[in-house]
Symmetry: C2
């Protein structure tokens, strides 16, 4: 596991939270897994659209390390690996939904209205 | 203003929201301005700790562009410039507080308990 040389300057639980599920890819992975419940790597990659394997693998590793996502490997031939949200991961959903609702108010004004409703997750703008 | 060559793949208001206030620096700037209300650049830089001018200036530009922060310039000698949260910026605070509360539950288990309460902003872990 990659370890940064300098201790990160985490000042507040907020920053810890942002690190856990912030950013484009992590939040999208969580949303997609919330909708689909269980996905194999290739399915997850298809859902993500436009992500490289390196970026997706790094985001997954961090999410697993931080216990947001669990990776279950079945000893079959060929081996099967499935990803899903942990309980901690599920508890992030209301927060993401709150951000989504907030952003929807402004997104509506500033962006294409057709995109107001998420096409991939089940979040609905009120 | 810097414009990326490729249209960003924003799929959902959530991702728009994450872009607006996500990440370490933007959320910290918003928290600090929420606590201090109005700050000059040098004061803000001091509050941020360990940030380079390039990083802080870029984050500020984006926050101003997205109407989270307002920059008011007074025509005095020497000129005075002040930064504060807009109404839109203030509406982000409950979201950050929600993330802070959520993260506090896990931060408590996983990190130094002395850091459980933010030293810089007014967020309190329940």
């Amino acid at each position: 596991m990659y370890k940064p040389k300098l201790e990160k300057d985490k000042r507040c639980p907020l920053e810890y939270g942002m690190e856990l599920f912030g950013g484009k890819w992590k939040s999208r992975i969580i949303c997609v897994l919330n909708e689909k419940k269980i996905l194999r790597y290739s399915e997850l990659r298809t859902e993500m659209v436009n992500v490289t394997d390196a970026v997706l693998a790094t985001a997954l590793k961090e999410l697993i390390h931080n216990q947001i996502i669990q990776r279950v490997q079945y000893d079959e031939i060929p081996p099967r690996v499935e990803y899903s949200l942990t309980q901690k991961g599920q508890s992030v959903i209301p927060i993401l939904q709150g951000i989504c609702n907030w952003a929807g108010l402004y997104y509506q004004e500033e962006s294409d209205k057709a995109l107001k409703q998420c096409q991939k997750c089940n979040f609905r703008i009120p």
